[in-house]
Amino acid sequence: MSCERIQEKLTAYLDGELAGQDGSVVRGHLRECATCRQAASDEAALRDGLRSLPPVDPPPSLWAGVQAQLAAAEVADAKRPAWRRALARWAPSAPRFAAGALVAAAAIAVLWWRTQRAPDDAPGPDRAIATPAPAPAPAPVPEPGPPPPRGDITAELAAEPARQTEAYGDAAEELLALATEVRGTWAAEQQTAFDARLSELRGQIDRAPEGRPRQKAWRELIRYLQGAIVRDEIALAGGVP
């Protein structure tokens, strides 16, 4: 059997659908032909890759919407005179068709948005809204690609959260230096309370994920330090102004 014929049968072979002699022929050919063996190996690897992708479920709202429209159509159907129901056996029900068409139109619109970078897409405003999805998106599959060029917008955007966090961190360190100066004037138990709270807030910062959560944790530390330094909250807490 030629390589071309074998490769046509590879899909069925890998699916376990070739029984008896057909399977034996393909197996025998693969033992001898490196090209077909490579093709079979590639296809098997592709299947493994596809199986490892996260499942993409249709949004729950889609089925709920279809059910609601069908139910409404059935209610309307039941209220119709007998002659119209008889007619409906021969002609598609207009409301039902409309409901289906609406669902289909919404699905097409979403698909179109998701794939709107068509090659013949003329420069126009449509492309501004890129990826609407009617339900929480499944975990995105990272696309392996080359690292962004240095100085490119993608690199800058990726670095921005860390840059902002650093700015908050710098401000906190300045305040911490001031706090260290006044700390010496506090009673021992006030110093202990301050150190404990500081340690707790630093722990929160370390545990917070990069981005807005970590910035928020830094801001909380800044507020605490301002309260300690500017408003003497710690000193006043012990009745010592």
Binding site: P123, T154, Q226, I229
Partner: protein
Amino acid sequence: MKAAGCLVLALALVKTASAQPKNTGLVERARLEVAPGGRPIKQLTIENPLGDVKIEGYDGQSIMIETTKTAPDEDALDRLRVSLIPNPDGTVRILTTADGGKEVKTLARAAVKIDLVVRAPRDARIDAAVSAGKLEVINMDAGGELDTASGPISVRNIAGELSTHSISGTTTIAQAFGSVDAQTIASDVELDTIGGERLVASVSRGKIAGRRVRARDVQLTTTEGKITLEAEAPLRGRMVIASLRGDVDVKLRRHGPVTVRVRAARLDLGSSLGAARPGPDGWVEGHLGVKPQAQAAIVELRSRYGFVQFAVIE
């Protein structure tokens, strides 16, 4: 399409203009309307590190989004993305980014821009973050959380709990009728007509200026900048206006008894409290109005290295 507890994308995508060359390059505009499904839109989250965001509340139920992208050329324009993610819980997220791609030439961040103008239901809560762009919110009833890095924040006519944060963007809040919490590191905070229960503002290196403030709990703190406040003191209210190195200037309109405590490097308490003298702890304390003092508002003013001025507007 009716969706149980979910949002539906209204199929309204209106072309307002096609790509047109300008001095700055290409400009592309688009408009989209998102209608609620079974559940009203209760939260709008926007993250736009690439430009300005303006959110305006209105009495409708849908969200209308206008995007304006600016880029030097067609390739750069193609890389700019706006994503819309409606969630079943009544939350809508709008995110902007720039695509990488495989064979892209280097594109400077300053060369492109995405501006968003969003009309949203007034009762939706706003959670918005921009970078160097302007963040503007007007006519919203459910408050929100607003973040910028260096871009200015401007909020007008807002109710509900509002929280703003910026590293170096000026924050301007006017006509706020819920609790306000504003924090910046190196920029000013301007407050006008604040009527919520609580007002907290803190700045490291910058000024705080407040006028027509009427909140029961007011806490304004700077490390280095001046604090200027013209406020009303409600019964049993509490104000703490404190700076480490900045001056403090407070003009108070009172409706009942007020207890004022001041501690500063230098101070001027005007005619009403001019006779008060510092106690052994360094605090100057005076009382305005007749008893019962149990209803008195407490005003605490302090500046460790600055000048404190206080006056009562009768």
